[in-house]
């Protein structure tokens, strides 16, 4: 195993080839906020929260995807990055309808946590109050599009881990929606095995267990990493 040495916010780091900047930073205790990334799922680099500055590179690079390289000098927390991250979070809050006080995920929501981390006390951008539906057709679970941040974790987990490929992204731009089957009610899609993985990995209260009420959703997305690792080792898992 060959090793690359680099600097992250002034910390000298030695990391195995192929390690992402995100993993490297976490290893040395440098936090980088993420949303679309989830260990165990393919990377999409879509939320742009984890962008970092690399000296000598004109462009910001997503830490969740960029591998370490020899001699890299990385800055993860410059004023510019802080401002851009806050703006990303503001964009997410304003493009949906996030009424935390009545949300199943209140207090256990990754979007909320990120907002706190980036210091978003209010949104500088205007709220857009889109008209979005709720799908309660599944017997066990619900999908509230108002809270969906289009991270596509549900799409990826259902396709890559459960193998059912129930979810897709429909339409484009501001009209993007997560769709079940061929844009059918979730409950009408036979392919769904009711495994609940999508609910577990959803960072917000968009996907939820119908048995949960306000503040009761305690998803544990990190368990997915354990599941995927166990499978890779051939250990019996569901």
């Amino acid at each position: 195993m060959s090793v690359r040495t680099l600097s992250i916010n002034g910390h000298a780091v030695a990391m195995a080839t192929g390690t992402t900047l995100l993993a490297a930073a976490r290893e040395v205790g440098v936090p980088i906020p993420t949303l679309c990334h989830l260990e165990g799922l393919s990377p999409v680099a879509a939320c742009r929260l984890c962008l970092v500055e690399i000296e000598g590179s004109g462009k910001l690079q997503p830490a969740c995807l960029t591998p370490v390289a020899e001699g890299m000098v990385v800055h993860t927390d410059t004023p510019r990055l802080q401002d851009y991250r806050r703006t990303v979070i503001e964009m997410l809050f304003t493009e949906g309808n996030h009424v935390c006080a009545i949300c199943v995920a209140n207090g256990h929501c990754e979007l909320q946590d990120r907002a706190v981390e980036v210091g978003m006390d209010h949104s500088r951008l205007p709220y857009r109050h889109p008209d979005r539906p709720v799908d309660l057709s599944h017997p066990l679970f619900g999908l509230d599009h108002n809270r969906c941040i289009l991270c596509t974790r549900c799409v990826r987990v259902c396709d890559e881990v459960e193998g059912a490929h129930v979810w897709d992204v429909g339409w484009r731009g501001e009209h993007c929606r997560i769709i079940a089957g061929l844009n059918e009610p979730w409950g009408a899609v036979d392919a769904c095995t009711d495994c609940g993985k999508c609910v577990q990995v959803c960072p917000t209260g968009a996907l939820f267990d119908k048995a949960d009420t306000t503040g009761e959703k305690h998803a544990d997305p990190a368990r997915l990493g354990a599941l995927v690792r166990a499978r890779a080792r051939g250990q019996q898992t569901r």
């Binding site: 401002d83 851009y84 703006t87």
Partner: protein, 556 residues
């Protein structure tokens, strides 16, 4: 290689003979078709039949003749006289005039200018700068040959360079020639073509792919469409040569569904080339083979972005993905893939035929060859022009385009469409090359050039392009999906006169954020029209502001 006026004049027989023939070249490209060119051509064919002149007057369809804004156009050979605004009602009169000419008994009569004029149109003076300032390399056959007949292309040398390449040149030699020519990608970014070819050629892999990007999504741009409609074999030959150079055996042309005629002409051209063994397995007795398939896209702008285009070819949702890996490494089905624009590929044949040095002698230090532009907007003579790189914007707009009509005075020239910016009238002396345009905050782009006069509202222009990006965003990444909506909202607020200094400050802060954090080129360049109009026409934003909280008070 030729100027358009030269191209328009085929050799004139010095004296008439009973076997002298005349030819009417009818523009059958989309621009003129929209004006009734198909009916005109039918009328001409019928009139020729009525007079039993089939042996002496040939009616052929050709690609774009250039001054599209005046269509339908036709050119009459041997002298190459060009007429604009011709309608089906003019057909009989024209054929009568040609019949008269064919009865000429003296050289003087044969060479006398045609007395005929279209009822509502005019003869176009091919001595105007619109024609004389052009230099046709990419378009050398466009408007001259019948794109429906492979024989017409072959008469003008089509597939000669492919034969030469496959039989006498090594792939490395071809790559080196393209590199030395200095050709850069015409799809917008201007990446050195030789370098791209060399990279794909070096990639390991049994099977590689060549993709021709014919998605052409910029509003108002139709350069690639004109090439594909008017000279499809030129592009097929360029692709086959590229395939030989990089070691590919499979080709795709990704073309938008709206380009119906280009699709028909390309399908026919591929079939004709295949029948003649100019495409397919074992070309010219060598082991090299190359097949081309069309992939018709549903007309999403973002599908012109190379990784989205690859996904679309593969049958997936057309959304970009982060690079690296670049297509050269992992493209269509993970295979090393060369993606080039239509116009880039159309330059390959003349470069190989005339030599790298010849091509490199055209243009400027960093930008070689010619560029095709679609001159549109507030300009007297609009249409398709091909000029050497380094030509000034003033030459193109004021001289060739003959300036703005109605004497309103030129305000700015927009290049690069939704990814570009404006050049104000005061900088019109700027040379058209990649570096100069970039220094002004715009880009060469694929070739759209929109002329704006003093009646143009620059904030509205910025809002128009932002609305375009908002509509065309694929929605994958947050800054583009939500940022273009916020930017568009801010611009509309300015237009409505409801914006305060704080809104202007927010607009200015959001632009770099969206540009620097978006995943692909669409979001990265979406703020460009705003930044460019702010740079040169800031007063138009400021003049609209209403009193309100200042930037500092709003917390920015």
């Amino acid at each position: 290689m030729t100027t358009l006026s030269q191209a328009h004049a085929s050799p004139t027989p010095s004296s008439p003979s009973p076997t002298s023939v005349m030819r009417v070249r009818c523009c059958s490209s989309a621009g003129c078709l929209a004006g009734g060119a198909a009916e005109l051509r039918q009328g001409l064919t019928a009139a020729v039949a009525r007079r039993e002149l089939q042996e002496r007057v040939a009616i052929t369809g050709v690609g774009c003749l250039g001054p599209c804004s005046q269509g339908p156009l036709l050119a009459i050979d041997p002298d190459g006289t060009l007429f604009a605004g011709v309608t089906a009602a003019d057909a009989d009169g024209l054929i009568a005039a040609l019949a008269h000419r064919l009865q000429a008994v003296s050289a003087a009569e044969w060479e006398a200018p045609l007395a005929w004029r279209p009822a509502a149109g005019e003869q176009v003076d091919t001595g105007r700068p619109f024609f004389t300032r052009q230099r046709r390399v990419v378009l050398e056959n466009c408007g001259l040959i019948d794109p429906e007949r492979i024989e017409a292309a072959i008469e003008r040398g089509a597939y000669e360079q492919l034969r030469h390449t496959v039989t006498d040149r090594t792939p490395a030699e071809v790559v080196d020639t393209i590199r030395r020519s200095g050709l850069r990608g015409r799809g917008g970014a201007g990446y050195p073509t030789g370098l791209k070819w060399a990279t794909v050629a070096k990639m390991p892999g049994e099977r590689k792919v060549v993709v021709c990007n014919a998605d052409e999504g910029d509003p108002g741009a139709f350069m690639d469409r004109s090439v594909l409609e008017g000279d499809p074999h030129r592009v097929l030959e360029g692709m086959a040569i590229a395939a030989y150079a990089v070691g590919a055996d499979q080709g795709f042309i990704y073309i938008r569904a709206e380009y119906k005629l280009a699709i028909v002409n390309l399908r026919r051209a591929i079939e004709q080339a295949r029948r003649r063994h100019l495409l397919g397995a074992g070309l010219f007795g060598s082991p090299f083979g190359f097949t081309v398939e069309l992939r018709v896209g549903a007309g999403a702008y973002v599908c012109g972005e190379e990784t989205a285009l690859i996904h679309s070819i593969e049958g997936q949702r057309g959304t970009p993905r982060p690079r690296p890996p670049y297509p050269a490494e992992a493209g269509v089905w993970g295979r090393p893939t060369l993606i080039n624009n239509v116009e880039t590929l159309a330059n390959v044949v003349p470069i190989l035929r005339e030599g790298a040095g010849w091509f490199a002698a055209i243009g400027t230090e960093g930008s070689k060859g010619t560029k095709v532009f679609c001159l549109t907007g507030k300009v007297r003579r609009g249409g398709l022009v091909e000029v050497p790189m380094g030509t000034s914007l003033a030459t193109i707009v004021s001289e060739m385009g003959e300036g703005c009509p109605d004497g309103a005075g030129l305000k700015a020239v927009q290049t690069g469409g939704p990814s570009g910016g404006c050049v104000p009238a005061s900088l019109l002396h700027t040379s058209v090359d990649y570096e100069s345009l970039q220094a002004l905050g715009t880009i060469m782009g694929s070739g759209g050039m929109v002329v704006m006069d003093h009646s143009t509202d620059m904030v509205a222009i910025a809002a128009f392009f932002m609305a375009f990006c908002r509509d065309e965003s694929c929605g994958k990444c947050v800054p583009c999906r939500a940022g273009t909506v916020q930017l568009h909202g801010l611009l509309q607020k300015h237009l409505a006169g409801d914006a305060t200094a704080a809104d202007l400050a927010q607009l200015e802060a959001l632009c770099p954020m969206v540009a620097e954090t978006s995943l692909c080129g669409l979001g990265q360049s979406a703020p460009k029209p705003v930044l460019s109009t702010l740079r040169y026409f800031r007063e138009e934003y400021v003049a609209r502001l209403k009193p309100g909280p200042t930037a500092a008070a709003a917390g920015r």
